[in-house]
């Protein structure tokens, strides 16, 4: 069982990446984001993205109700269905879902969050974002057992049955843990985890389970979030986590063969 996360980063050519999917024989769940497209469409619709930073430096998108509508349009509409269209065209029987469908992922909506904005500490309310508490794999197993390829995207469901923005990497990790995946492959527009984000040559090849702490020092910003997710993934029983390059041809096969940062 394989869980593949393709990011919303602009550097990755989705069309080209998906060309490698038919070569994968084992059961697979594809999880995607659409961060970059969401920023563009939010701009076009006159509701530009409002990024907020927690006191510990974590950056996330303030997701008010209007943003959630645009989020659904971009993640669940444009990107999810373009992937399904492309895969169907390649003869792969894809089924596009959000994590709300069949209540796949439930989480807790943060009623209020504390952020630093324009240098001032603030409390923000009405944020439709949160963390995943539980995954129900029945729908995914039903589809996988019948030969479908689930293509999954945020949002998830809050306990009150509202859509909530959840981190795409975290969603992929929670799904992989719940499905006891052998491998979780996370693709983005870099060769993998880099010692120096500006130098694509500084790829970290291998991180054994006992080298996780050092890896945490190396990673910065978004990469740091990815390492935290990887560590938790291994603790939750996922066999291996690979951060690999989504821009190359045959990206999935290369990652399966160990190209990128292999952890565990």
């Amino acid at each position: 069982m394989l869980v593949v996360k393709i990011g919303g980063s602009k550097g990755v050519d989705l069309e080209r990446f998906l060309g490698d999917v038919p070569s994968v024989r084992e059961p697979m769940v594809l999880v995607h984001g659409a961060n970059h497209e969401l920023n563009q469409v939010s701009e076009q619709l006159g509701h530009p993205a409002r990024m907020v930073t927690s006191s510990t430096g974590q950056v996330s998108r303030y997701t008010d109700r209007r943003t959630m509508e645009i989020f659904m349009m971009v993640y669940c509409g444009r990107v999810n269905k373009t992937i399904v269209e492309r895969l169907q065209g390649l003869g792969v029987n894809a089924v596009g879902l959000s994590a709300m469908d069949g209540a796949i992922a439930r989480g807790r909506r943060k009623e209020q969050i504390r952020v630093i904005e324009d240098g001032k500490p603030k409390v923000l309310r009405g944020d439709y974002a949160g963390s995943i508490q539980q995954v129900d794999t029945r729908l995914l197993r039903l589809l996988l057992d019948s030969g479908y390829l689930p293509v999954l995207t945020p949002p998830a469901l809050s306990s009150e049955g509202e859509a909530i923005n959840v981190d795409g990497d975290k969603l992929a990790m929670e799904i992989a843990a719940a499905l006891c995946a052998d491998k979780l492959l996370i693709f983005s527009d870099t060769p993998g985890l880099l010692r120096d984000v500006r130098d694509e040559g500084s790829l970290i090849g291998r991180i054994q389970r006992d080298e996780m702490e050092q890896a945490l020092e190396v990673a910065e910003g978004r990469a740091k979030k990815k390492v935290i997710a990887a560590r938790e993934a291994l603790e939750r029983g996922i066999g291996q986590v690979v951060f690999a390059d989504g821009r190359v041809d045959g990206a999935i096969q290369k990652a399966l063969a160990g190209q990128g940062t292999v952890i565990g």
């Binding site: 974590q58 603030k122 409390v123």
Partner: protein, 60 residues
């Protein structure tokens, strides 16, 4: 001298007075007496309540 308007509100924890200038709704200020972190719930007049705890891990 910038013409900042200074308001004085009451700290809900220790009832000390908290002087605040040019604050927005939702902003967090600290009570000079008891050090509690307070959220500005209104600005005209300024009202304060205990700010919620710090929580990690949100959406994308």
């Amino acid at each position: 001298m910038s013409n900042t308007t200074t308001d004085v509100a009451v700290c809900p924890e220790c009832e000390g007075s908290v002087a605040v200038a040019d604050v927005e709704r939702g902003e967090i200020v600290q009570c000079p007496d008891c050090g509690a972190e307070l959220e500005v719930t209104n600005t005209d007049p300024v009202t304060l309540q205990l700010a919620p705890e710090e929580e990690e891990d949100w959406g994308e």
